[in-house]
């Protein structure tokens, strides 16, 4: 398992990276933490002529509060989601999910931007991004645009990032009063890809759900908003009855693939169980 040969370019800036990419005539791959790209090279699943290393571009790093938004640079490592005080305070669902992402050494190196751009439907961070309504800032040769997470994840491993573009930051709306979160997943072993996972953010006003966002992962080809379940909870107290209604509604939200090792109805069953558990254990964050 040795990578095929390629050229390497350590980009100093986003512009330089995009220029290098363009000059490679589509035969280039961006490298950030490398934790998805490098194994795929070792497995010889791809063979780009050029690797453009984004990891040392200063503008891709940094975590800062910008008005009503927390801006997280794409090169932020997974471990920072656990340790960074700004993320803890303003994006607590990322902090809650991070310990579930793979293993400590992976988290030291893997990047939030890399994980979102990779868009593995079994990954935690894309689901969190959808649940908390992040906006993804994408740099392209013609300018910068922000894409809501709901419109960012298109398919398995496919996002709104066009070839040559670079995800440069994640924008997270800061929590509002009454905000609660919940995160959990069902995995065979610690750090494994989840069989099913759930990221939930809600706003409660006088114990009544005024806003509910449920994002499930490992249930389809991308992080999946459980719209019917959200409706089932809207305007209600979270109790056994409303949770049961939300669980029941999930069959309208999910249509996972069927597999002898993992039948679709088992995934729906697990999603119901998990959603019930997460809704029963929501944590107040603001």
């Amino acid at each position: 398992m040795k990578s095929p040969a390629f050229e390497y370019m350590r980009a100093e800036s986003i512009a330089a990276a995009m220029t290098a990419y363009a000059e490679a005539d589509g035969d280039a791959v961006y490298l950030s933490g490398g934790h998805s790209v490098v194994p795929s090279l070792a497995l010889r699943l791809q063979a780009p002529a050029l690797m453009v290393d984004l990891s040392e571009i200063p503008t891709l790093s940094g975590i800062s509060l910008e008005g009503e938004w927390l801006r997280i640079g794409a090169m932020t490592r997974h471990v920072q989601a656990i340790t960074d005080p700004l993320i803890n305070k303003y994006a607590p669902l990322f902090s809650a999910a991070a310990p579930y992402v793979a293993h400590p050494a992976i988290r030291n190196r893997g990047t939030l931007g890399g994980s979102l751009a990779h868009a593995d439907p079994a990954s935690e961070f894309p689901a969190v991004a959808v649940a908390i309504r992040t906006e993804l800032e994408i740099a392209s040769p013609t300018g910068i645009r922000r894409v809501p997470a709901d419109e960012f994840f298109l398919d398995i491993y496919e996002t709104a990032i066009a070839p040559g573009e670079i995800l440069q930051a994640i924008y997270i709306p800061v929590p509002v009063a009454g905000q609660v979160i919940g995160f959990d997943e069902i995995a065979r072993r610690r750090g494994d890809y989840a069989m099913v996972g759930a990221a939930v953010q809600a706003v409660m006003t006088d114990s009544i759900v005024t806003d509910m966002s449920i994002s499930l992962f490992s249930v389809g080809d991308r992080p999946t908003r459980a719209a019917s379940a959200e409706v089932a909870l809207q305007g209600r107290v979270i109790d056994n009855a409303s949770i049961a209604d939300a669980q029941a509604a999930l069959s309208d939200d999910l249509s996972p693939t069927d597999d002898p090792q993992f039948p679709a109805h088992m995934r729906v069953l697990l999603a119901r169980v998990l959603l019930g558990r997460v809704l029963s254990n929501l944590k107040v964050v603001a």
């Binding site: 040795k2 095929p4 040969a5 390497y8 350590r10 934790h35 690797m51 400590p104 050494a105």
Partner: protein, 162 residues
Amino acid sequence: MKTEITLTINGEAVQEAVTPRTSLADLLRDNLRLTGTHLGCEMGSCGACLVMLDGAPVHACLVLAVQASGHTVKTVEGLNESGEIADLQQNFYERNALQCGFCTSGMMMSAQALLAANPGPTRDEIRDALSGNYCRCTGYEAIIDAISATAAQRMTNAGEAQ
């Protein structure tokens, strides 16, 4: 085409010309003959290749050597010579927390990082910290014991030092 890289490995400045596809693990093992870093899966699943990169354990199989240029790497050989893991090594030895020894340097990297971040971990926290380190021989319990004993000793020593 080879690229010149410079980095600090175990406190020594290293200058090497590598092909971009060379992983940090292959640089360490093949070019520099630091064979205490092992390769078990080459895709970040087994933890045998963990090294300290800028002070934190990472998979040397998932980092390209060119990416490590300008950075600081410590391998088991360096940690051994500096004496900073002497107590951990002693406890692994006493507790027989290794058999074939192939996973051991990766285990110690994870342990060292855990104890730096969490000086008094529970057994469950230790198991969690080792969740990416595969060992086929021991059954893990002895490794947990050895790390737990090291934590206790370090806490005692830190208490005495104050």
